[in-house]
């Protein structure tokens, strides 16, 4: 009978080792489905055998060996030819050996397996795959989520998600998407692609509505876990650490950012005592280390902005001129009207409201944000700060017309009511 201790050990090994076991098996067999089935069987075996033999010292090595043997057995049974068998038996240096044993796996773990997980994530996030397929495959292969779990998190039927995963795997095999870390000339671009998938994953969880929080919020934790893995595997890529820091800083505010109604509480109004200090400290350490590499990128800069907020005891004591300067830098790295708007807010807070308003007016004249409720909401807010009630109310009304979701409308209505109460 399986004891709770063994069950816990297998569960822990699954969290820690699934991606590693699968990544190695895919490299050796070149067959995603076979690799997945054998990895699953190895975990089932673990439950039985660890009950009898005890939990091995290195569960990952044990699982990789058992899964590898399973693959060899299956290939032999299926008589799929000497060629594939040879591939399975080959170690990462390319030298074939007849059987895989624990010793071979051990040497492997010191060298190849870390790379295998990187290979896996770059393949899952390949830009020739549809974006939704990239996200699903990353969660399935690296995070070990089941198809049903991923389907729930993305609010689609399980059959739809299964099809998405099958299609992505079929394209990898049919179009021959290579299983590797990209060569240097494409590495920066492709790394950006991997980080974008992880950030999208995080935002899917983070921006979930109140009703969806319970099922979607775990996506944030998965995204953080995967970003942590990529940051460890790519120590020379400061943007990977930057992304991890950014996610942690956002995540640190999770208990303060929604009210009882499930509405967004602005940074200004959040109860900062409810911010997660451990996550903030970890993020700040990561950010300090990555900024020392002097290769700023959009994630590091956004994390630095979030860190400015995290370090301030309240809105008034925030280093707004630093934030304005960081937005200026972000604008150079990734020009966008939304970044311009945020910069305008920071300028208004740092110097004077007049300068901020001028920037907002300038943006409004460019016309790219006309349908964006936050443009008018920002303008209204700045008028409010200057005590220009009529102008503020007019702008809130325009913001209300542009708002698309109920929480957005409720937020603007609340502000509007505050202005009208002052009558």
């Amino acid at each position: 009978m399986t004891t709770p201790a063994v069950q816990r050990a297998v569960d822990a090994a699954f969290r820690e080792e699934w991606g590693r076991v699968l990544a190695t098996l895919i490299r050796r067999t070149g067959d995603w489905d076979l690799a997945e089935e054998c990895a699953q069987e190895a975990f089932a075996d673990a439950l039985r055998r660890w009950t009898v033999d005890g939990v091995p010292e290195r569960p990952g090595a044990w699982l990789t060996t058992v899964a590898g043997n399973r693959a060899v057995d299956r290939l032999r049974r299926a008589r799929r030819g000497a060629e594939l068998l040879e591939q399975v038996g080959r170690d990462p240096t390319g030298a074939p050996h007849a059987t895989m044993d624990v010793h071979k796996i051990d040497t492997d773990e010191d060298g190849g397996i870390e790379d295998d997980r990187l290979r896996l994530i770059f393949t899952c996030c390949h830009p020739a795959l549809p974006l939704e397929g990239r996200v699903a495959l990353t969660l399935r292969s690296l995070a070990g989520l089941s198809t049903a779990e991923i389907a729930r998190a993305f609010l689609v039927p399980e059959a739809t998600m299964a099809k998405r995963l099958t299609r992505a795997k079929a394209k990898i095999a049919g179009a021959r998407i290579p299983y590797r870390v990209p060569p240097p000339h494409t590495l920066p671009e492709r790394t950006g692609g991997v980080l974008a998938v992880l950030y999208l994953l995080f935002n899917e969880g983070y921006s979930a509505s109140a009703g969806e929080q319970l099922i979607r919020a775990p996506l944030c934790l998965e995204a953080i876990r995967l970003a942590r893995l990529v940051a460890v595997l790519m120590p020379d890529e400061p943007e990977a650490s930057g992304l991890l820091a950014l996610m942690l800083l956002h995540h640190s505010r999770r208990h303060a950012r929604l009210d009882e109604m499930g509405d967004i509480v602005t940074l200004e109004e959040q109860d900062r005592m409810r911010w997660d200090v451990d996550e903030i400290n970890e993020a700040r350490a990561l950010l300090r280390a990555s900024l020392r590499r002097r290769a700023p990128g959009p994630y590091q800069v956004q994390a630095a902005i979030a860190a400015c907020h995290a370090e301030a005891p309240n809105v008034a004591a925030t280093d707004w001129s630093q934030i304005a300067a960081l937005y200026e830098l972000l604008l150079q790295l990734t020009p966008s009207p939304v970044v311009s708007l945020n910069r305008a807010v920071a300028v208004a807070m740092a110097e004077d409201v007049e300068a901020g308003l001028a920037l907002v007016d300038e943006l409004a004249q460019q016309g790219t944000l006309t349908d964006y409720h936050l443009l008018e909401a920002t303008r209204a807010d700045l008028h409010r700060r200057r005590g220009e009630r009529t102008a503020a109310i007019a702008a809130y009304h325009r913001a209300l017309a542009a708002a698309r979701t109920e929480p957005e409308r409720r937020f603007i209505l609340r502000r509007l009511a505050e202005q009208q109460d002052r009558r």
Binding site: L129, R167, A170, K171, G174, A175, I177
Partner: protein
């Protein structure tokens, strides 16, 4: 692995774009042939010159114009031998056509078959016969119930027959459109998307180039292919100087 690059045009390119492509293409061809990744490629005549062939109830039906009535059309193709999709993407992104048009990358299912005529065809030496591209369109509702296995077998028999008659220049079946990737380069940035360029329920299942005495013979060859009975085959002449 063999890949087909379809050069997909959204309409007649501007004269400046034409000039750039004409100037830059020879360099691309030289570089890619030197690396051994580009096997050959040709430019097609405009789609108005296309003929679409269907066989219904034993009768060959010929209509003027391309199969897909879209403003997008295929302007030519290149055939590659690459290690993997990444290399095919890199080669496609360096193709001057990707700066103005879209290039669709499609892997061949069982490799590309090149006949003896292929090298003359590649040199645009059409003295032995006029080359025609046969585009195999499938998908949508077949004219009669479709037996995939039978189509594959008959298609193979057709190819062997055309090869035996010395008329087959090159071609083969393509992997499904699920494996397609389109490449565009804009402002120096390579933009990829999943799926074929023309997203309709019909899709291109394979291509063959045949060498014929005239258009009538090309139409007759197309009509003999099983896909003409279930769906349609587009016959396209090539551009020559």
């Amino acid at each position: 692995m063999n890949y087909l690059l379809f050069i997909c045009s959204e309409g007649e390119p501007a004269p400046e774009a034409m000039a750039v492509m004409q100037r830059e293409c020879p360099g691309w061809v030289e570089e890619m042939a030197g690396r051994g990744v580009r096997l050959l490629g040709r430019e097609l005549e405009l789609p108005e010159t296309a003929t679409t062939v269907r066989v219904r109830a034993g009768e060959t039906l010929v209509t003027d114009g391309p199969f897909a009535e879209t403003k997008e059309f295929m302007a030519g193709f290149d055939l590659l031998e690459c290690a993997d999709l990444d290399e095919a993407i890199e080669v496609a992104a360096k193709h001057p056509a990707s700066w103005f048009h879209t290039i669709e990358i499609r892997p061949f299912m069982d490799g590309l078959r090149l006949g003896e005529e292929a090298s003359a065809f590649a040199r645009e030496d059409d003295s032995a016969g006029t080359p025609y591209l046969l585009i195999m369109w499938m998908g949508g509702t077949p004219a009669t119930p479709l037996d995939d296995e039978a189509v594959t077998q008959e298609g193979e028999a057709w190819r062997q027959d055309v090869e035996a008659r010395g008329l087959h220049v090159l071609g083969n079946a393509l992997e499904g459109t699920d494996t397609a990737t389109t490449v565009r380069v804009r402002d120096g940035e390579t933009l990829l998307s999943d799926g074929p360029f023309i997203e309709t329920k019909e899709f291109i299942a394979g291509i063959d180039v045949v060498s014929c005495a005239d258009r009538q013979q090309a139409i007759a060859l197309a009509a003999a292919h099983p896909i003409a009975r279930y769906h349609a085959i587009e016959v396209r002449p090539f551009h020559s100087e």
